[in-house]
Subunit: 435 residues, 4 copies
């Protein structure tokens, strides 16, 4: 997580202030529940809420931690400074640090998931808008980087929409994976704390109680969460790669938006670099790589070890902040992408009709010409295009053998782009629910 | 995928015979749909079914491929040898190789998912059985590998059950991810083939039509699939790690089943190695690593490139065969695991009651002793245990200062294991739906 | 490792026959050394060599293993069938299975490394040849996929040469990493076997004795080995990516060789797909991914556990066979790559001289025009090229303000390609040791 | 990189101040070289050194970058504020941003490598010291976590020494990999800048000129560098895992140092958690995971794209800072590790001599007893130990059938630990060069 690739809302989730605030809420709600159970006095539970509007002093807590070498104890000590050490004496009773740390981490991840879900929704809106805008903008489809048959730019946006819509669904599942809390005490047996406390705290924090924890919340949940971020990041790379290809000098079917004022633009008008999507490509690599240590975190020793902690202190913020930034940047790129329909047509015609050769071959066969002869007819005209720069359709219209099988109108028809776009509406209906 | 770590049902899914059979079904169903649409003659569609009971000759197809350098063409050529080349002339019309290859791959992955789901269900049954069997078998819970507080072996099995139950749910989602088919022709526009063909073929094969494909099925689906396998593999490692720890000489709370006849067992009775769970640990590493290339496969160039293919030819079989084997092996390990309750108790008492020191500390405080004094009282008795090998409870019962705060009965009560197991039923109800 | 992506020499290294042959040699040489030490009778050592020319019967060994459940014992049993069970009774004395397995694995990896080194040498020869062939073939250099300044195709080949030459050096280091053997007995203390045996066996097999082993050879060596394969694979991807870009329809500066007879080539002459380099891209992903489990294998428990074994049974063959295949395929691609110098020039001139705009800007400044005015002069002529399709040089030669600062000859000089290629020889001398 | 897991010297390498200082030196030395070549006036080159002792104002540079959107231009603008804009007008002439950025990055990585090399040297010193201290401290060797045969704690330290010594060698190679600089101008042709400038700058910065660059330094170097860090991190995990095992309650052969004052230590003396080595385990996962994106960075498009940059802005600092911290923490753990030789002996005797059963078996055979009978003799005595808690040696000394084959002295000798430690000196000589 570095400032250059960060947005403030996501960064705020991972601030010490937010963390301590969540810790506070966990402890305060736990006291309420314990008071309801009669385990601690009501007035002590109520006293904790005196700190309700306090902004905890991070420096002071760090100062205490430097002595106690324990972050949760440092926080509790500081809390007592606000609540009164006598009033605060039942805070955290029967709980372990992990009850606070793991529940807090999941609150943070859940909030991060909410931001990522909102990011995806904005990206989807942008993709949908551009899809309809370019629904009928014909461009050449490419397999292996080689011209294949025509498609439309709208279909390109639509397929990215469908992919990101799946990612939205995965992200919602991932959110559910980590929206659990645990207040189950040492080794998770509830020996020292009643399950009702966990239920109350989870309810207040919008979490579901972890059915069975072992002091820690099981890490398969987090592995699934970070793996999902890795899949989404890979989709970001997928879209970024398409745009980088479209912007390359020889293709130039689209460009990242380049503001008029940006220096150098007009003296070297060809030199506009797709730096945003290149950047996204790199960010995708980062997010994806974090899936592996998250999976390695699953196999903790016995009821728990703390090897997961240093991993999560890093990838918790890093993966969510980076993906949030990437999704927002990508949304901007999509919204502002400058599309060049004329260049799309020019590219498609680069080999003067040759992309239709397969359709002509099929038409000849269907008109009764043998496969071998059809092939020869197409071939001899194709080679004139390829080697002499002729126009494929014109050559076919001059070829007497071809004309024996197909009328000029039939030949013309083979070059009709409508043939290729006739099901765009069908596909849009599948993707967006309407044509 | 190596024979040593393979099971026949999963291997069969990836055999050339299965692949060609699926290709055949795709082509035959597509012909039916095209005949219904009037695109090809009914009799040609019917003719294809003449090969219904044929076992395709893999060697013959490979022989043809050696010439044509194209696997789908080789298969179609061979198919024509069965159906008649004239009758077969409409087979594959308007389709591309990817329509066949990608749809087939997803059929294979879906079948693989079905086996993995069944594997998980068997594993869950084994875990549940062992959980109830050892619901009340007390053992020490360990955090950081260090004795913490008592728990039960049933809770250990129960938490693995809950984890694998989440994996079952993830596996079902992963199955849905890849249970799609695409028969959309070149660059996915349906220009050359009607969407109704895709619908018919998918319906017959138990798939959902891919809403928008680009000649290929989008690879984010496969990335999510293989990432899920990676998460499940990490859970396999989690359970394997627990068993390896339990079997180590100094712990010996459980052992992988070791048949009486197995050589060496009784001359070196201490030397029974947890080789199955060690093996599972390695297999988990393998499956997990395949998530990364699956994610790298997402960003194909434009409508498609074929870089994904060499990856999938490997990880398709490798990840599913390996995980299937691992789940089955793990199920056997769980079913036959030899549990040593006596050793569990002996381990728990290794430091003669010291694991209860925290409970005693709390009791003293609650009895009105100051925190500092309570600490000193516990400390001085604890050190006698630690340094002189005394029994903690006995020392407390002899300590007059302790006796001023707690009655002997109260002290005894602190060493009651029922305190730690009182919520086992609650947790079982959460995990299994019943106590 | 699948046949499609395998070459026989590398596959042979990993065959059961090779493995048993190496086991045999380890055992036989160990007997010699033990006989020299007087630990076992000379005649028993000599007897083992009776099997010198035997091809061990893999099926028979597997049959025995099915009973003994132990591969090394199965082999020894079979060996005794050849040597005589009485004569063979000292074979393997004082040794453990790992002495045989680990030493054998390193012999296999060393041989694999030798093949990979030879592969790299062949690839280097091909790259060097093509580099000199196209030393002066000018093409546009591209940053961000956008035209930047001219370079030469020879420099492209030369940089791949330099990169693969570094990989050759890394591969040699990697070979040294794993060219060790260990015959150190249980937990590696040499309690049951003299270090002289290890020295003799290693000497005979071309290995260095592992300075300190723990029954197993330490796995950091293998991690370094497989990480190196991952780096080399990434370089394969680097070259493959360049060629895929060069072959795309709009660029067409080179093509993978496409034999005249290959079907479809002339009817759709534009549709030649860079399938070999796409395939290499996928293979690179596979090899690279195996670095992670190899690194996870380093932390074995205490003196050894066997979790590494299932990983290595897979990645040992898979990574080396795949990389061997990839390097050989890449060498073929390079040797036969069809380069299109005319298209290179045509691409460079796509924007009629605009790539020289920066040079002109610099020249104007150096001629005393202020930075702001220089910029305006370049800009107004550049925009005519960009928007009206004019030629940049011609426009400059018509611009009176430009002509006040630069003579026509000076303007012409700015478009001289020799300016950009003047240090090609210097760079070749650095890379190849000669211009 | 988070403060909790960072050390100041390594952090300083990655500060903006350091970065700008290196940029300054690159530019200033480049000016000198250009002045020597007569390309720019001497006085302008000299003027740049006026800023020699300036601490560049990071806030001011960021302020300028906010306008120019370009970090190198922002720095040059700020530099001109110190040097005088007229004097500074030749700074950076003929260079590109990458000349500065890539050369700077390699200077930073080289310095980071120097710190890591020093870290490794300190770790080696600690390991060597502890190895000699415990050269003869006998403990049980374990395979599969199960008691095998005796070894010594010195050998454990010695094998970690040997492993880290290999890592030191790898780290030195990795340093050489990235100790290159490039000042080769746009697309690396030296068209706009003489190679002599590169040579001078590299010489001054302690780098080697990159033989062939393409505006950027080739990323296979960085991939190899980060892969090496991943291997070293895996070795850190290896040592950490051993210590975690040694500290677990049932084993307790060593403990991380726990200062007397640390709270809780004496009231729960059993509850000292190996949190440092658990932490190291997590940090190893992090560093290792960064090898993958570093390898993905190798395949840049054509002469360069900038996708590598966002990856490196993260993993550059993250991997080096984390590994530096980990190595230092591990060194502290080793230096202060509390070793319990008595517990080692107690553990070894847990099964009262059974670990010697294999040696006894061998002795019986060598004494002429058939393999089957030897096995039965050992077995019947072993079972008495295993099931009745008898002492193995004592049972053997009472077994008349055993006594027919072996004298009491011979039996005694089989339990002599010297048998197992006789080659410790030999191994030490191999590892340390002296016994």
């Amino acid at each position: 997580m570095i400032p250059r690739y960060s947005r403030p809302d996501m960064v705020a989730i991972w601030s010490p202030e937010t963390k301590f605030r969540i810790w506070y809420e966990i402890e305060a709600h736990a006291c309420d529940a314990m008071a309801d159970l009669g385990v601690i006095p009501k007035e002590n539970a109520e006293a904790v809420w005196k700190a309700k509007d306090v902004e905890f002093d991070v420096d002071r807590i760090n100062e205490i931690e430097a002595v106690t070498k324990h972050d949760v104890i440092a926080f509790l000590t500081h809390l007592a400074e606000h609540v009164g050490s006598d009033e605060a004496r039942f805070v955290h009773q029967g709980m372990t640090s992990s009850d606070v740390l793991d529940t807090c981490f999941n609150v943070q991840l859940t909030r991060a998931a909410d931001l990522l879900i909102a990011d995806l929704e904005r990206l989807l809106a942008a993709l949908k808008k551009r899809a309809y805008e370019h629904k009928d903008t014909v461009r050449i489809g490419r397999s292996h980087g080689i011209h294949a048959e025509p498609t439309t730019m709208g279909l390109t946006f639509a397929r990215f929409y469908a992919e990101m819509d799946r990612n939205l669904s995965r992200m919602r599942d991932a959110r559910a994976e980590i929206a659990t809390g645990a207040i189950s005490g040492a080794v998770g047996t509830f020996a020292n704390i009643d399950p009702a406390v966990e239920e109350h705290v989870c309810d207040k924090l919008g979490l579901v109680p972890e059915p069975i924890s072992t002091q820690v919340i099981p890490r398969d949940r987090h592995a699934a969460f970070f793996a999902t971020l890795g899949v989404i990041a890979s989709s970001v790379e997928n879209i970024a790669t398409e745009i980088r290809h479209m912007q390359r000098t020889e293709v130039l079917e689209a460009e990242e938006f380049f503001s008029k004022g940006q220096k150098g633009s007009s003296a070297m008008p060809h030199k506009r670099n797709p730096v945003l999507t290149e950047n996204l490509t790199g960010l995708a690599r980062l997010v994806r790589s974090m899936a592996i240590p998250a999976m390695e975190n699953v196999a903790l020793w016995h009821e728990r070890d703390i090897s997961h902690s240093s991993v999560e202190r890093n990838i918790g913020p890093d993966a969510t902040v980076t993906l949030d930034f990437a999704l927002a940047r990508l949304t901007g790129v999509i919204e502002n992408l400058v599309v060049y329909p004329d260049n799309m047509l020019a590219n498609m015609h680069k080999f003067r009709g040759l992309v239709m050769s397969q359709r002509v071959l099929l038409a000849l066969t269907q008109a009764g010409v043998s496969r071998e002869d059809s092939y020869k007819l197409v071939q001899r005209n194709a080679m004139k295009v390829w080697e002499e720069g002729k126009d494929f359709k014109e050559e076919l219209l001059k070829d007497e053998d071809v004309l024996k099988a197909l009328t000029p109108a039939q030949i013309e028809e083979k070059f009709d782009l409508g043939y290729h776009t006739k099901h765009v509406g069908t596909i849009f209906a599948r993707v967006f629910g309407e044509e």
